[in-house]
């Protein structure tokens, strides 16, 4: 297979878990809540999916369980942040520690257990297309689901009443109150849905991509997702591109090694972060002005 197909196809597969999490984080941040516990939601999602897939023998129940687990953890975040007015950063980080502990406590039993994973399913006709076929259409079903979820999320956020409410909760929450809506409820809902997406990301990692459960197997992907949302300027479509970029940066190293040449993997790994910083520096205030207003308040008054 050509290097291009190899890296881009690998980028899609490896980037999908990050994309799910970042897509969810976009929804939450659009409503004005940042969740550093995304990493934790991915972790419980990965374990939840794996455990249920092992117990039921059906990976699709696993997918459901992953989403539920991720949503439950972020539900705590929603409660603390929205109801109790807790610090968003502190709450998110605390939930990460909670997830690390819980998955270690309950995950040990599932390490090394064989699982029925989500298999690869080639899309008829499309998978035979030159170049595009191997890059986009020879994957597992959760990846195809993400193809649909990205535009769907965009559409809901920007073209529906619910989306309008979510965005208003993140921009001018007082105007919601005036119109008789509860900004708190809308925010909480957005955070929980965001956590469910992160849980799906974790599920993709454990039962579709790596087919294994290990302690702390998310290893930073959730943090990358949070960074990615900023890189993508809170846009679901750009999240998709950004996630594949991260995925390709990860896939390029092994692809080159397998061809007997080598690039510095750490130089590759750092590219997306540097790129984000550069974009922020160049676009500066313009990028930040794209941030939901309530979120800006969080950043500026987070102590």
């Amino acid at each position: 297979m050509s290097l291009l197909e190899d890296v881009m196809g690998g980028g899609v597969r490896g980037g999908t878990s990050i994309m799910y999490a970042a897509l969810g984080e976009t929804i939450g941040e659009r409503a004005g809540v940042i969740n550093l516990g995304t990493e934790g939601s991915m972790l419980v999602g990965a374990l939840g999916a794996y455990a249920i897939a092992v117990e039921t023998g059906d990976p699709w129940w696993g997918v459901v369980a992953g989403a539920v687990a991720g949503g439950m953890l972020s539900g705590l975040h929603a409660y603390l942040v929205v109801r109790r007015g807790a610090s968003q950063f502190a709450s998110g980080l605390s939930l990460l520690f909670l997830a690390l502990g819980l998955t270690s406590l309950f995950g040990a039993a599932y390490v090394g257990q064989p699982v029925v994973a989500l298999g690869r399913w080639d899309v008829p006709v499309l998978s035979d297309l030159p170049v595009l076929g191997p890059i986009l259409f020879r994957h597992d079903p959760l990846i195809y689901l993400s193809y649909a979820l990205v535009p769907l999320t965009w559409w809901v956020l920007f073209r529906t009443r619910i989306g309008l409410l979510v965005r208003t909760a993140g921009e001018r929450s007082d105007s919601l109150e005036v119109n008789g809506y509860s900004a708190a409820r809308i925010r909480a809902g957005a955070v929980v849905v965001g956590g469910m997406f992160a849980g799906l990301g974790g599920a993709h990692l454990s039962i579709a991509y790596a087919n294994a459960w290990f302690e702390n197997m998310v290893s930073g992907r959730g943090f990358i997702a949070v960074a990615l949302v900023i890189f993508a300027v809170w846009s679901p479509l750009r999240v998709m591109g950004g996630a594949y970029l991260f995925g390709m940066a990860i896939a390029l190293g092994p692809a080159l090694q397998a061809r007997g040449s080598e690039l510095n993997q750490f130089a590759l790994d750092v590219i997306p972060f540097l790129l984000t910083l550069i974009v922020l520096a160049v676009l500066g205030r313009r990028t930040l002005s794209a941030a939901p207003a309530e979120l800006k308040r969080v950043f500026e008054n987070s102590t």
Partner: protein, 357 residues
């Protein structure tokens, strides 16, 4: 629920601190902590461990063994400095989530200083140079975020978070390639010469980092509360508009607070490196920055309570070995207890500030 919608300016300027009587406050804390312990017990029970035995064993093996008590002081030192690194910028209304990276860069600078000068000089001078280098490097790393904020208006919470990943890649690059002890060995740097290691307090295994940490707590307290700079930073952090009108150079004040934070985190990296690890390894200082952030938050950004918060976290971490060795549950489960305590405090003790942040 209206509290969550409060405008940012209102909560510091108006709203007098709601003082509910110390009894109420104390009982809330006790209830919150007890709740955390009850939930943790239930989880231990679910894993087949006797929670009472497990916790008694944890307490006794942590506080009755001299070695464990020493470990607590060793582990709390970088946490104290890391938390101060959050507290100082917080006074200026800034969020430093970049402790993780600043700690790494501080250690990298200390290690670089050793690799560069370790042959020619040794002893106290070298250690002093390493301290200076780590503080400067930490400040410079935070300075990147400060510069981005000053020049491009990039929020420091975002930039410091992103810079953590960059710092980690810098560390990995250095220890995998130019600084690697041997090309076919573990990815670590050369071990510090004995003369470059932090001395220990007489008769113990506790290195002098704890003294530095305690001294800096006092210094930070004095600077924040009893100097003109500290006052101005508070004003700038509380109400930048008022500060500007009274002629303060707000951006400079904010940047200086962030730089000092970075320097403190750099020192945290240095003492963890030269006091404990002696080598840079791939997981160096992992989660130290985030734990420090939480310790600072638990202490409500006040210097003296930071000592207590850091002590608590360090004790929990030292206790985790007992969970595994005495009770047979994974050591990482201690994270559950740590998180539950934090969540209980987050959710159920009176927060003086009820903005959505």
């Amino acid at each position: 629920m209206t509290a969550t919608m409060a405008a940012p300016e209102s909560d510091l300027a108006t709203a007098p601190p709601r003082w509910r009587g110390p009894l109420l406050v104390v009982s809330r804390w006790v209830l919150a902590l007890a709740g955390a312990l009850v939930i943790f017990s239930a989880l231990l029970l679910a894993k087949g461990a006797n929670p009472v035995d497990a916790m008694l064993a944890m307490v006794s093996s942590t506080f009755t063994q001299q070695r464990s008590v020493e470990q607590i002081f060793i582990q709390m030192s970088p946490l104290v400095l890391g938390a101060l690194a959050v507290a100082v910028p917080a006074r200026a209304g800034l969020t430093n989530v970049g402790g993780e990276g600043q700690i790494i860069i501080g250690a990298v600078a200390a290690c670089g200083t050793f690799l560069l000068l370790g042959e020619s000089i040794g002893g106290p001078v070298l250690v002093l140079l390493m301290l200076v280098a780590s503080a400067l490097a930490g400040a410079a790393w935070a300075g990147l975020a400060a510069g981005l904020r000053l020049l491009a208006g990039v929020n420091e919470a975002i930039s410091t978070l992103l810079l953590n990943f960059v710092a980690l890649d810098v560390l990995l690059f250095l220890i995998y390639q130019p600084w690697r002890e041997s090309p076919t060995g573990q990815p670590t740097t050369l071990e510090l010469a004995d003369s470059a290691k932090l001395p220990v307090l007489a008769g113990t295994s506790v290195h002098v980092g704890i003294v530095l940490a305690v001294v800096l707590v006092v210094v930070v307290h004095l600077v924040l509360n009893h100097t003109r700079w500290g006052f101005r930073v508070s004003v700038a952090g509380g109400n930048s508009e008022a500060a500007r009108r009274s002629g303060m150079k707000v951006p400079i004040l904010l940047c200086s607070a962030l730089l000092i934070g970075g320097a403190l985190a750099g020192l945290a990296g240095m003492i963890h490196f030269a006091g404990v690890e002696y080598k840079l390894r791939p997981g160096f200082g992992s989660q130290l920055g985030y734990t420090s952030f939480l310790a600072c938050w638990l202490a409500r950004h006040r210097p003296f309570p930071i000592l207590l918060a850091a002590f608590t976290f360090a004790a929990l971490s030292v206790g985790s070995d007992s969970l595994q060795l005495d009770s047979g549950v994974p050591a990482a489960s201690i994270n559950v207890l740590t998180a539950l305590i934090l969540l209980a405090v987050l959710g159920f003790t009176a927060s003086r500030k009820k903005a959505s942040a």
